[in-house]
Symmetry: C2
Subunit: 145 residues, 2 copies
DNA sequence: ACTACATCGTTGGTATCACCAATGGATCGG
DNA sequence: CCGATCCATTGGTGATACCAACGATGTAGT
């Protein structure tokens, strides 16, 4: 009983979106322990890898809308993880950069997210994980063209 | 430029959730042409495959919260796609069933969703699609245990 | 130089999905 | 018969993903 209709369970779009729900839940739980959420991690990750950036740049790198970047940075700066400074070369822009506490938070969230991968991929062996990752990466690149 | 941080792009949870965004967008566009959304399709699909059911049953089969089932059925019944009738054998329950128009809408949405699968899986060959589907199905079953 | 256009941050929305708590009516176990 | 449970419903919340519009600023065309 409580069977899922085959119309759903046989379709890749269903498998993908439903599994994403579980992935999102696992990640959210990990982030919540550090008082963060997905958008915060994206911003911190982009700053940690590419260095200080404008908010539009962050939006592009994180696949986030500009308005959502504003809110995320507000929250991150309230907690002292990032700093906003006016760009002297272009006064329309803000330059957002990581603080020391921000680096620390990023490392913390990194660890939490690593644990999530294992939970998510659960019963899959190393070769299967690689296959899945590769297929997903190809598809994502195709759709993000 | 506009590169995605490797912390994100290298993680299966990121690939999965981001690809799910694309899948959801494609499906939503398909559904929108018929004036529907995901929850509506789930309910129609469950009714079409398993026949009339109570709302709790529908919630279990569609992975939906009871309160969301209420709202979806309200909208579906306003459009004449489903009917609510009291269960004579248990007056706590409603028996929800498909109308003729509901069957037709289900077929319509089925076609739209089939087209979505092709768009979603884009560049993948048949064997790759099967591999991906199989891996996703195994993981989903694991998490839905 | 002046005008038209584009860009950036910001505000203030909307939709979808997922989930939770509480209520009142109905049913069932003991 | 009474307490526990089940069901539908109401009324919320949070996260993600969007969109439109505004003012300030910068750039390009003429």
């Amino acid at each position: 009983m409580a069977e899922t209709p085959e119309r759903l369970s046989a379709r890749p779009s269903w498998l993908l979106t439903q599994l994403a729900v579980h992935a999102h839940r696992l990640a959210s739980e990990g982030f919540a322990e550090a008082g963060a959420r997905g958008y915060h991690y994206r911003i911190l990750a982009a700053l940690g890898e590419f260095g200080p950036a404008s908010q539009v740049q962050l939006g592009r790198r994180c696949t986030m809308d500009r308005s959502d970047v504003v809110a995320a940075i507000n929250e991150l700066s309230e907690r002292g993880f990032v700093e906003r400074a006016p760009d002297p070369g272009d006064r329309r822009r803000n330059i957002v950069s990581l603080t020391a506490a921000g680096h620390q938070q990023l490392r913390r969230l990194d660890e939490a997210l690593d644990a999530v991968q294992d939970q998510l991929l659960g019963p899959l062996g190393a070769a299967e994980r690689a296959t899945l990752t590769h297929l997903l990466a190809r598809l994502l690149e195709h759709h993000a063209r």
